[in-house]
């Protein structure tokens, strides 16, 4: 199978301190570490599981972002991805979800034949959950969102378990297909040291051309160590549909909202929910 994973580098908003927001309400990216978007790691894990059960498969990870986004591509390679593509161009800057989806869909077309695209349900910076569905729409693919588990794959048909409010549901969909994977799906496997020691030399053309890069000999001998870097022209995109000019979303103002109500949680009567609740109470020493 040819499997594509869409991933995003995001500021780690889960550990946001007082410096995390600028006065105008935008994110102060320099105050937050840049990480692999958590749900995208769940998507990568599903891709790697698929690869394992379908020998000969290939997992390609695609991200759009500035040069430093190559860090999450390396991370994906450490965990088991086969190939990495960085979609990077000034023309993509300032993109909202629509312009992002357009650019990503053009890059997917450039990758060529594929059986399945996996993305995280949503990114922790924008929290829109729109990019996955929009990419599916632009590529004319069926989509299944909030996927928790791939149940089976048989005769070009995939059965999936989706997380829905108060439970799960099973759906079937034909390939090629786009999935958005929920954060409640299996966590991603760890970085593998053998892969890490090999792929830490991985570089984009820009990185390998930089002064002080010392692994050019390895790159020359091992094609897997090159991250592909594609720009707007290469993927054949329309500049008017990219970046700020392709983004109908205009931020008018950002307000700080303080929730008055106390934090509440809902737990169902399912065994795993009760187990999770008890685990949490044990952990914070309420009981035990």
């Amino acid at each position: 199978m040819n499997i594509i994973v869409l991933a995003k580098q995001v500021p780690d908003t889960r550990n946001a301190g007082s410096q995390a927001m600028n006065a105008d309400g935008t994110i102060n990216r320099s105050a937050l570490p840049a990480i692999f978007n958590p749900d995208d790691l769940n998507a990568l894990e599903q891709a790697l599981v698929l690869k394992e059960s379908n020998p000969g498969s290939k997992v390609t990870v695609l991200t759009m972002g500035p040069g430093r986004a190559a860090d999450i591509l390396r991370e994906a390679l450490y965990r088991g991805a086969d190939e990495a593509v960085l979609l990077s161009d000034r023309a993509f800057a300032g993109a909202d979800t629509l312009a992002t989806s357009y650019a990503l869909s053009m890059a997917v077309r450039k990758i060529g034949a594929f059986d399945i695209i996996l993305c995280g349900r949503q990114a922790i910076d924008g929290d829109t959950a729109q990019v996955g569905p929009q990419v599916a729409q632009m590529l004319g693919l069926p989509q299944v969102t909030y996927v928790r588990r791939i149940v089976s794959l048989d005769g070009g048909k995939m059965v999936l378990e989706r997380a829905i409010e108060n439970g799960t549901e099973k759906v079937q969909a034909p390939l090629p297909l786009l999935l958005t994977v929920d954060g409640s799906a299996a966590p991603c496997r760890p970085r593998n040291v053998y892969r890490m020691l090999r792929f830490k030399r991985v570089a984009t053309p820009q990185e390998s051309a930089a002064e002080g890069f010392k692994y050019n000999a390895q790159l020359a001998a091992d094609d897997a160590l090159r991250i592909k870097e594609w720009n707007l022209e290469y993927v054949g995109g329309d500049a008017a549909r990219c970046g700020l000019s392709g983004s109908p979303t205009k931020v008018k103002k950002v307000d700080n909202i303080v929730f008055k109500a106390k934090e509440s949680k809902r737990f169902t009567a399912a065994d795993e929910d009760i187990k999770a609740l008890v685990g949490e109470l044990l952990e914070n020493h309420t009981i035990g």
Partner: protein
């Protein structure tokens, strides 16, 4: 949280100058990069790789192993139909370490290993044991593979080592119901069958850590009629033979996640490892030295965990209108814990580096004859490793216990409750000064280096370090400890009594250990004053009090005192 990135003191030991030589030898001059795509091209890349790996281990330990430890403590392993079933969270830990490729850390690349030096493996083990000392045993037992690597046949290396790299677990089956500290009396029987040319094992082993492992190293009596250590050989036995069964799992005070088993060999087929009769006198001695370094590492990890817990609690708990860390009796305890921890860690990594150099020379000697200079050097490292190992195993484990005790004390009544981690650490730490040789046995192993003047010589060597002017007074104070050490030793030797020497040995040992730890910490502070200066000041003051106390005891000692014990 990440146990590596949050620990600057541990990171410091990745910068030691001797590491450059260790890595160069381990990597055979960086000659493997062409053959293995994960081998480093030079020292800088090797260090970069170790750092990345330590970050990964630190992340897994803080993120998965530490949270799992409480579950493992409750669920524990159980024996079902002769097999050990680990707690589900233990399986989860093992799974993540296997997927991360962390099961054959020190093994050569030709056997699927990472080929990391022992000093780096030790750092990783510290991280794992800080998260869960019990799991640390299961994971750390991969180090048994070094014995097959050093003494097994090429055929055995090719068969077993890749299994270990891929995640097979190991155990060393030495102790028997009637052979504990005295392994010479081991009785488990090994019989050679002329019929099929194989060895078979029959008998019982007891107190075996991870006794249902995939690959057992078994000490057994191969020479019928023999009674001492020279009749014992070492065997490799696989779980898959189906003839090694776990009869029961001990219910222990601590390290609940590490199953301690009584196992029965029922005509279990096994392979001889190395030569007959060399089992105890050569292979097990080497195995035990590695295991002692492992327990010393576990001890430092527990000392760290106990300190971290106490520090965090003392900073949040309020009494008498202030956080208790501001109260002198509390900051005394917490600050002293940190000093003992730093001192023990410094001695741990000094030991690990020398053990490592010792391994490297042994490897080199196996590939070609050593030059006379190399032989001389190799002996120096070997002696240093042998002298330092009992020092850190004994003192490290005692310090783990002291820190665990103080950690509970800082927590007050809460620390006595199961709700707090320090309660488990207190129980987990207790075994460190017992297994792989009690502290008393470490003193026995160490005392000859005290009486021969070797520790004094080492102390002098460590004190030759150049220090900035700000640390010069401390250096003088440590030199004064050395003088006290000399005087105490002289007095003991002048007594001319073996019994008096045995009686006072622990005190001599502690004087030597505290002085050496102070000198090593001085060297660390000379390299990074900001990081170690405060800890050094506190430790020197502590060492002065301990040394003065023991020196006073020895100074006042008269043979008549012994009669009052009998």
């Amino acid at each position: 949280m990440n146990y590596y990135s949050d620990n600057k003191e541990l990171q410091h030991y990745l910068k030691h100058p001797l590491l450059k030589r260790i890595v160069e030898m381990k990597e055979r001059g960086y000659s493997q990069a062409a053959e293995y795509n994960y081998a480093p091209v030079d020292f800088a890349e090797a260090i970069e790789g170790y750092e990345q790996t330590l970050h990964l281990v630190g992340e897994i330990c803080a993120g998965t192993v530490a949270p799992n430890a409480a579950r493992i403590e409750h669920e524990g392993p159980v024996a079902v139909n002769g097999r050990v079933v680990y707690a589900p969270a233990t399986e989860e830990n093992l799974d993540i370490f296997r997927k991360a490729g962390l099961m054959g850390v020190s093994l050569s690349r030709e056997y699927g290993g990472l080929n990391f030096p022992a000093a780096i493996f030790t750092m990783m083990q510290e991280l794992v044991c800080r998260a869960d000392a019990g799991f640390g045993n299961l994971w750390g037992l991969q180090d048994c593979a070094a014995t097959i690597s050093s003494f097994g046949s090429e055929e055995q290396r090719k068969r077993y080592l890749p299994m270990v790299s891929a995640g097979a677990t190991m155990s060393m089956d030495l102790t028997e119901p009637d052979a504990g500290s005295d392994l010479q009396s081991a009785r488990l029987k090994a019989t050679f069958s002329e019929e099929d040319g194989r060895w078979y094992l029959d008998g019982v082993k007891r107190f075996i850590t991870n006794g249902d492992s995939d690959i057992h190293l078994v000490l057994a009596r191969s020479e019928e009629g023999s009674v001492d250590g020279r009749g014992l050989s070492l065997f490799i036995c696989e779980k898959s033979c189906g003839r090694v069964k776990t009869r029961r799992i001990e219910e222990k005070m601590g390290i609940h996640g590490s199953p301690t088993c009584e196992i029965v060999f029922d005509h279990a087929p096994a392979e001889l490892c190395g030569s007959r009769r060399m089992g105890l006198i050569k292979y097990v001695m080497s195995l035990m030295n590695g295991a002692r370094l492992g327990i010393a590492t576990q001890s430092v990890a527990l000392a760290q965990a106990a300190y971290s817990e106490a520090l965090a609690y003392a900073h949040t708990r309020k009494q008498f209108g202030k956080t208790i860390i501001n109260l002198p009796p509390v900051y005394d305890m917490v600050g002293t814990m940190k000093s003992r921890l730093d001192a023990a860690r410094s001695l741990l990594y000094e030991t690990a580096r020398n053990v490592d150099m010792n391994y490297q020379f042994a490897e080199l000697a196996a590939s070609r004859p050593l030059t006379p200079e190399e032989r001389t050097e190799s002996k120096l490292f070997s002696k240093k490793a042998d002298a330092l190992t009992p020092l850190i195993k004994g003192m490290g484990s005692e310090i783990a216990n002291m820190n665990a005790y103080d950690s509970v004390q800082v927590h007050g009544g809460s620390g006595y409750m199961r709700d707090y981690l320090c309660e488990r650490l207190y129980r987990d730490a207790r075994i460190t000064s017992i297994y792989e040789g009690t502290t008393q046995l470490q003193v026995v192993a160490a005392i000859r280096y005290a009486t021969s003047g070797y520790y004094a010589q080492l102390l002098e060597e460590y004190l030759s370090v150049e220090v900035p002017a700000s640390l010069a007074p401390l250096k003088e104070r440590i030199a004064a400890l050395a003088a006290k050490y000399g005087a105490a030793l002289e007095k003991v030797q002048a007594l001319g009594s073996q019994e008096a020497l045995d009686f006072l040995a622990r005190r001599v040992y502690e004087i030597a250990a505290y002085s050496i730890m102070a000198a090593l910490l001085l060297a660390d502070a000379a390299a990074d004053e900001e990081l170690f200066s405060a800890s050094l000041h506190r430790f020197v003051a502590l060492a002065e009090a301990v040394v003065a106390g023991h020196a006073e005891y020895i100074g006042n000692f008269a043979m008549e005192l012994l009669t009052n014990y009998k």
